[in-house]
Symmetry: C2
Subunit: 405 residues, 2 copies
């Protein structure tokens, strides 16, 4: 299993690991999956020769039978007389079936599989792709080092915050709130994903107002916190907004990945001159059932190959349903190299109910300070004001890192 679990690609085939649950013989279920996603059909056809199968068929590389359960996790499967077996398996495809194309990779590893009657559960756990993907797509232009360079923060996490309330503030109110955060010593500030270009707070006004305050602050104090301004929109809008941010002296743009989709992100990456702060909102509908959808390990690789620079991973003791273990696993995977020649590592963004309290455990578990630690209420709502909130979190990180040395 250790080779399979490595995130370094050493394969000339595309490989995907799955957790599945099946009412039928596991080998038959896996062969149905491989057939459905390559040369097979449900009726054997004259053109489906052994030579063709050898050339184009998806292969079941390995599988391991886990526990058996009495009830199916998902509806719609064939009824099992003797329970439903859970299986870990790896399938592979020849690169020549699709070429190094991310949209077609998604169609291949996740296209027609999740609706199969032979399955009562299916989750894609991991992906490994040949180096041709690294050569085709840009990967992150900034990542950890570029983010540190632009923000001027070395040797510790960037302490960040979110503009809250999410929506309802106009551009000048947003700018005032942002200014109070700069003055509180924040390293990083981001729009909420609900804030883009509504009439109540238009993008141009918000970007102009906040950047004016940010530039004034930067001129005065010689440090420039990073402002991840949400440019999510249609492609022309995103490119135009990106250019506005560049012209205003901004150093980051934020995008909602699931709203934009792969092709939009690939295009934005081609155009982009700033770090891309990638928000994963919508992640729940792709992942919340443990026997359906995508694991973060598989999903995040798509966006790292495209070339985002920061990726949200939730936080310890978060207000959402995710376990601490899962959060740390996600953050680790962001910092693990993807290709030998091109690591594509990105900065994990911890957020959701984060305060100084979560700092020691976060550092203990991750063993790295290469992250953005974003706190909302813990900073905006600190009883002694936001500067005290920022300082408390910063001190907690210094203490945790010192204790480790």
């Amino acid at each position: 299993m250790s080779d399979r679990e490595s995130s370094i690609s050493r394969t000339s085939r595309i490989e995907a690991d799955y957790l599945l649950e099946t009412p039928v013989d596991p080998r038959a279920a896996l062969e149905a999956m491989a057939g459905e996603q390559s040369s097979g059909t449900f009726v054997s056809l004259p053109a489906e020769t052994p030579e063709l199968k050898a050339r184009a068929a998806a292969r079941v590389e390995s599988f391991e039978i886990l526990e058996q359960v009495g009830d199916p996790s998902l509806p719609g499967s064939i009824h099992a007389e003797n329970g439903y077996r859970r299986v870990l398996a790896t399938l592979s495809w020849p690169l020549a079936n699709l070429g190094p194309s991310l949209p077609n990779l998604v169609a291949t590893v996740a296209g027609g599989l999740f609706e199969l009657k032979q399955l009562s559960g299916l989750r894609i756990l991991d992906l490994r792709v040949p180096d041709e993907f690294a050569a085709t797509y840009s990967g992150p232009a900034f990542g950890v080092a570029g983010t540190r360079r632009l923000s001027g923060v070395e040797g510790r996490p960037l302490i960040g915050t979110i503009i809250k309330p999410n929506v309802g503030l106009d551009a000048s109110e947003t700018a005032e709130l942002a200014q109070s955060m700069f003055e509180a010593g924040i390293d990083f500030i981001k729009d909420d994903e609900l804030q883009a270009d509504g009439a109540a707070c238009p993008f141009s006004e918000r970007a102009g107002s906040v950047m004016k305050k940010l530039n004034e602050y930067s001129d005065r104090f010689g440090r420039k916190p990073m402002y991840a301004i949400n440019i999510t929109g249609d492609l022309d809008q995103m490119r135009r907004r990106h250019d506005q941010v560049v012209n205003l002296g901004g150093t980051c743009v934020m995008v909602s990945l699931n709203s934009v989709g792969l092709v939009g992100m690939i295009e934005l990456r081609k155009h982009c001159q700033l770090p891309i702060h990638a928000h994963r909102n919508g992640w729940g509908y792709l992942s919340r059932h443990p026997l359906l959808g995508w694991s973060f390990a598989a999903w995040q690789k798509l966006w790292r190959i495209v070339g985002v620079d920061h990726l949200h991973v939730n936080g310890l003791g978060n207000k959402f349903c995710e376990s601490d273990e899962s959060v740390i696993e996600s953050a680790r995977t962001c910092l693990s190299p993807l290709f030998d020649s091109k690591p594509c590592t990105v900065m994990p963004v911890f957020s959701s109910a984060q305060t100084a309290r979560q700092v020691p455990a976060t550092f203990d578990a991750l063993g790295s300070a290469d992250l953005i630690f974003a706190a909302g209420g813990g900073i905006h709502g600190h009883p002694d004001g936001p500067a005290a909130g920022v300082l408390k979190i910063r001190r907690a990180w210094e203490k945790a890192m010192k204790a480790a040395n």
Copy 2:
């Protein structure tokens, strides 16, 4: 409920209907949802004034408590002492929060909600958006009427087929297979979603070879079946491939929606001069659990507003997990007007194990012949050859339609 269920937009707010399951008081769960997706924060902040809430807050428009269950459908929620209640609810947002932007619509109605601890299940059932969305996006350029005009098929479904084996045939083998289908009398032929531009069957060669056969056939017999060639790829690739198809005299392009994503599809639609055959592969990971993800009714509206022309809906007695009832509901929704001023109706594509056997029930349930009826094995594998397979399906439709009159 009848107004809520109408797919015609008459609202100046954005509305979304949800099925949720909650361990807490339903009203508290709904207020958490509304707060999370608008002005709220989990810590009350100084800037969060009543005026701001009145301007920007999401509203719980209505809710109806359904059954109670003993166990949570999804893990990670707060533990309930007294069971988990299922609720139908409608939330709404001011358009001014986001503007008529499809990517930001997705972030708003489906962004941060699916991971809430107050929920042990959440599915988005339907969406209604103001007319500004119809004005912003193109909608289908061809739909039913344009597809009929280009294919020359009136008054009955287009009888279609899929190139199978999915992958493994080279360009000239694909063209020979396609030719045999044209000669068998097919109206519509599509690539498999696994076939795009792999080295084993490059796009340009495939498009060139198949279109040569198709043009020869068309010159000779005066009818031109529609060939939905899969152009899925990065944006430049899709635009280039589209132009190739136009230059070769093709009349349709096919795209995998979930692989491309919203922004890519919006861009392709701007460029496209041909009907867009929209493949929904990957739909299972968005929908298979009944208390998670997206209903087809909500999801399909996004793509119709963008402007696809054909949309896959599976078929009766399909090889996948979907019920016949759900298939028919999906097909009906494709044919129901979306906006008063702009119906955006699209042609539903029935496929998966379809033969003449499913025809009477399909017509009975749908009450319309405005569809593409695609059969794979039932045509390629017919014992008397593909012409007999096509004829049998066509006769079955004629008989079903005659019986109804």
